[in-house]
């Protein structure tokens, strides 16, 4: 059968569509046509028609117009006032971060050697190192896909280390994350949800549930609802006493001011770095970290790549390489630890640049800003008749409110009409509200006023009443 494609097709992305070159190459290899190369594909598997897809737009300007036209239907959170979080956060991304990750050399590199890809190794070693300082732990991986995966792997590691099957989930977990984690580990682990009390872990329930069959005690802090676990030290002690591993899922954004979990006894600290310099991207730009102490029992269970420092033939020159490569599926297929593949390295570089810019003061001020705005938002909203806070826990960035007089969905619908996304609906009467460094006090005031008008149209709450 004949080639279905016209011979004259020349595309800017495919140099050797230039007819003379194509012919010269066919001649060089002694082929009649490209068909020769497909000799191993049985005729009955051949498509023999053009794919049924829309007509192409090879002219870049036509393509750009088409794609922009579709995306123009979106309204960004620069056009809407957003209090949405639930795992994807609207933090400010410094221009320098974008500049670095846009660099062709980083954006289009893949898996070169520590020589000609030295820059990538160093940037990711630095990322590991910067995260390590933030988390107060000595080992951090090259990023895995996202925080869901990181925590799932953290628990799987605990399972392999202990040989036990039970996992106690002590915090409120983002439902989507729980879905991923449970399915990921279920060949080896059973995740038992221990109900929270007042938004945080119930230590009595923990005591009751613990036993020598528990592989891991799993804490999320901040939890799904933004509650910060303040009794991690006690939890860790109890877990350790039972021989269980303490696995924390967290967002590192607050550790400029908050004590990192390792200092309260966490063994494996996991989470997402989207808050550290990544745009929201419709929830499509995440990366997961897994941090442990510098203890081979832990390190050897990590599936991801770990870049380590090394000397070279030249004194004073920093070299890099893969630490304990033999752990990985690249080295040993199914005998490696889980698997390693294309994950989220570029986002690790982004987060490294972000932390380099922020420094200790930046992270401290940022953490304080988030705590202050969270508290302020809680105060403003809680002072509205018909709105109560979900709990009294310490919150960072997110918290829930209960609406007495109106279904959460209706409140959301009403506020959307004013260009406000007031939060994520958690249940019939509950909204999860998120504030960040991008959410100014006046933004919060605007939310409060708009919510007040909806939940108790009669009342006239003004900012003055709060202060």
């Amino acid at each position: 059968m004949k080639d279905v494609v016209t011979e004259a097709f020349v595309h800017p992305y495919i140099p050797n569509t230039a007819p003379a070159v194509k012919q010269a190459m066919l001649d060089a290899v002694g082929a009649e046509s490209v068909e020769d190369f497909y000799a191993d594909v049985p005729e009955d598997l051949r498509l023999r028609r053009l794919l049924d897809v829309p007509a192409p737009l090879p002219a870049e300007q036509d393509l750009a117009r088409h794609v922009k036209g579709i995306l123009a239907a979106n309204r960004s959170t620069e056009e809407r006032l957003s209090f949405l979080g639930a795992g994807t956060y609207n933090h400010y991304v410094p221009a320098v971060v974008d500049e670095v990750i846009r660099r062709s050399e980083f954006l289009t590199a893949y898996a070169g050697e520590p020589y000609e890809d030295h820059g990538r190794f160093q940037a990711l070693f630095e990322y590991q190192s910067l995260m390590a300082e933030l988390l107060a732990m000595d080992v951090v991986n090259v990023p895995t896909y996202d925080g869901y995966q990181a925590t799932a792997t953290g628990l799987a590691m605990a399972g392999r280390m202990t040989g036990r099957r039970r996992v106690l989930a002590l915090s409120d977990v983002l439902p989507e994350k729980l879905s991923k984690v449970v399915d990921y580990v279920r060949a080896n682990l059973e995740v038992e949800t221990v109900a929270t009390a007042g938004g945080v872990a119930d230590l009595d329930a923990l005591a009751a549930a613990l036993g020598d069959d528990v592989a891991a005690v799993w804490i999320e802090t901040p939890s799904f609802t933004g509650a910060v676990e303040t009794r991690l030290r006690e939890i860790s002690e109890a877990a350790h006493a039972a021989g269980a591993v303490v696995v924390v899922g967290t967002d590192p954004v607050g550790y400029g001011v908050l004590t990192p979990p390792a200092m309260h006894g966490a063994d494996i600290v996991t989470g997402d770095i989207q808050s550290l310099g990544l745009h929201q991207w419709f929830g499509g730009a995440h990366a997961g970290f897994i941090a442990v102490h510098d203890d081979p029992r832990f390190v050897m269970e990590m599936p991801s790549r770990l870049f380590g420092l090394e000397s070279t033939d030249v004194p004073g020159e920093y070299g890099f390489g893969d630490v304990a490569y033999d752990r990985t599926s690249f080295a040993h297929r199914e005998d490696g630890k889980e698997w390693v593949g294309t994950a989220a390295a570029l986002w690790g570089i982004a987060a490294g640049v972000y932390l380099s810019l922020m420094g200790p003061e930046g992270m401290r001020e940022h953490g304080e800003l988030l705590l202050a705005r969270t508290r302020y938002a809680q105060q403003r909203l809680a002072s509205i008749p018909g709105i109560r806070l979900g709990d009294d826990a310490l919150h960072l960035r997110e918290f829930t409110i209960h609406l007495d007089g109106i279904p959460a969905r209706d409140a959301v619908a009403a506020l959307r009409r004013e260009g406000i996304e007031p939060g994520v609906v958690v249940d019939e009467r509950t909204l999860l509200v998120c504030v960040t460094d991008v959410t100014s006090a006046s933004d919060i005031d605007r939310l409060a006023d708009a919510l007040a008008a909806v939940v108790s149209p009669a009342s006239d709450i003004t900012k003055e009443q709060v202060a």
């Binding site: 495919i14 289009t108 300082e133 990192p260």
Partner: protein
């Protein structure tokens, strides 16, 4: 000397940038700031007081994290310098990342994803405000269905191996839904299928059975049949395999699997040679995944983010991960995962950046263009094969005299026997000419392997230059092996000593650990004993 200038050498004289940059921590000067933070508004401060002082006992970090303090320009400079020390495919003739399908990632696609209408949208926004993003997902799913011939597609998986995981997770759920979850506890793969197939199956709880090729390097149908049984949950195979060889009996493989009630999963991470030529459905597969960052041109980002499209038959559609995008009366709506679904495999809708890039790439090419891309990728590969085999010491084991699809696993075994120079050493030396290559996945079934995949994106002239460098290095291996052995000479850093990397006492995975282990500098916030030391 004066004009005119002599002709250039081939391969080119290359020297990579080398800035001898310190580690970022060494750039720290106390008091410098990289960025200023928006201040807490006075009204907020007044309303909430000192939130840090008010933190509960033990919750206030006792000392700030030991991050570096560096002014903005210097942070920028540091990372820009590091970037120059990296060989992205935009700069390199990147045909040596064999099996990894390095294509041109069109710059227009990078521009398109940077519009605020994509970069600054949140997945929980009113769907009325994200119709554009949802339409993109919907459109790409439709395209992928046509490309694969399958019935339903999900774009939720955040990488190729993640897509393989999604495949096996669906297969597991499928068998469970039919009450065969316990019974089917084996997965069969081939040694020249990507290791993630074996690894993901293992994580899902399966025993992995690996089939080796026949003497010609073709997947061994007899061996497969011997391995199949009512315990088999699935076969998980790549095709063409890492060797670039297409399994002509692929339909027989699938049929054999189906015969024992197993499913057939097709790792199409790399379909760059067969787009529009043959489809997963035509061979009877139940499920397959494509890597958007390979066949569909999204950039690799130093190792991610990636993204996969999982395409399935109607029978498996209910098991796809969620959320799903559906079109209802011209509007796009989001549906949470249903009863049978494996649930969420990643946040939100997957890696939207790559969804848009892949969509744009397909739309730029259309049906003719994709077909042409495949054909030229294959032409490039067979041309390269011809040229490489002209180099003394290089060979292409298996299927001798036959054509390959889009890549070839070569061998320097002859050269090694003659010179003692390994493929790894040759790879390092190749980069002295500005070219990267990678050997292959382990285990090294092919001795002294190297794997080249030229894709459709490189001109003949570039392929010729690459081969000239290969030939040059092979000659050096004979004439001046020391030169090769002591490489790199023209790259950012020099020969690196890897001994410390496998010794827990000596490895240094972070600056902090390095400071502690080698200089006795212990951070104030150091946690000295891993608390878990109670575990045996």
């Amino acid at each position: 000397m004066s004009l005119p200038i002599a002709p250039k050498t081939s391969p080119r004289r290359f020297q990579q940038a080398s800035w001898d940059e310190p580690i970022v921590f060494e750039l720290s000067t106390p008091g410098e700031r990289g960025i200023a933070i928006t201040p807490v508004e006075p009204a907020v401060r007044e309303a909430v007081g000192d939130v840090v002082a008010d933190l509960p006992e033990g919750m206030r970090r006792p000392q700030p994290p030991a991050l570096p303090e560096i002014a903005q320009m210097r942070v920028l400079k540091h990372y820009l310098r590091l970037s120059q020390e990296n060989l992205g495919s935009d700069l390199n003739v990147d045909i040596g990342q064999g099996t990894c399908t390095i294509k041109y990632s069109p710059k227009i696609n990078d521009q398109l994803i940077e519009v605020p209408q994509l970069r600054a949208i949140h997945p929980a926004q009113d769907p009325a405000d994200t119709q554009g993003a949802l339409e993109m997902i919907w459109r790409l799913e439709k395209l992928m269905a046509e490309i694969s011939g399958m019935d339903a597609v999900s774009l939720a998986s955040p990488g190729g191996s993640a897509g393989i995981w999604t495949n096996i997770a669906m297969i597991r759920a499928y068998h469970e839904s039919r009450g065969e979850g316990e019974q089917r506890d084996e997965v069969i793969t081939t040694i020249f299928s990507h290791p993630s197939n074996a690894a993901a199956a293992k994580v899902a709880g399966y025993k992995v059975v690996t089939v080796y090729p026949d003497a010609d390097g073709y997947p061994d149908l007899g061996a497969l049949k011997a391995a199949l049984s009512e315990r088999t949950a699935a076969i998980m195979v790549t095709n063409p395999e890492d060797t670039g060889i297409y399994n002509p009996a692929i339909k027989e493989w699938v049929d054999a699997a189906h015969e024992v009630g197993a499913l057939a999963s097709y790792d199409q991470a790399n379909a760059a040679g067969i787009l529009g030529i043959t489809r997963a459905r035509d061979a009877g597969f139940d499920v397959c995944q494509f890597n958007l960052h390979k066949t569909f041109s999204a950039p690799h980002g130093c190792g991610g983010p990636g993204a996969a499209a999982n395409a399935v038959s109607e029978a498996l559609a209910p098991f796809l991960p969620g959320p799903r995008v559906e079109q209802v009366e011209g509007r796009f709506v989001v549906r949470e995962p249903g009863e049978l679904s494996i649930g969420h495999v990643a946040p939100a809708h997957g890696v939207i950046l790559h969804v848009v890039r892949a969509y744009a790439w397909i739309m730029s090419l259309g049906a003719e263009g994709m077909l042409s891309a495949s054909q030229i990728a294959v032409l490039n590969n067979n041309y390269l094969l011809k040229r490489v085999l002209e180099i003394r010491g290089a060979s292409a084991p298996y299927a001798v005299g036959r054509r390959r699809i889009e890549q070839v696993r070569y061998s320097w075994q002859e050269l090694f026997e003659e010179t003692g120079i390994t493929s790894e050493e040759i790879g390092v030396r190749m980069a002295d000419y500005g070219f990267h290559y990678w050997t292959s996945h382990h285990p090294y079934i092919v001795p002294q392997p190297f794997t080249l995949e030229p894709t459709e994106c490189y001109s003949k002239a570039e392929l010729d230059e690459y081969v000239a460098a290969l030939a040059q290095v092979a000659q050096e291996a004979r004439e001046n092996p020391e030169l090769v052995r002591t490489a790199p000479h023209n790259q950012t850093v020099h020969h690196t000593h890897h001994d410390d990397l496998d010794d827990p006492e000596r490895w240094a995975i972070t600056w902090r650990a390095y400071q502690r282990k080698y200089f006795g500098v212990v951070r104030a916030d150091a946690v000295h004993e891993p608390a878990m030391s109670t575990v045996a």
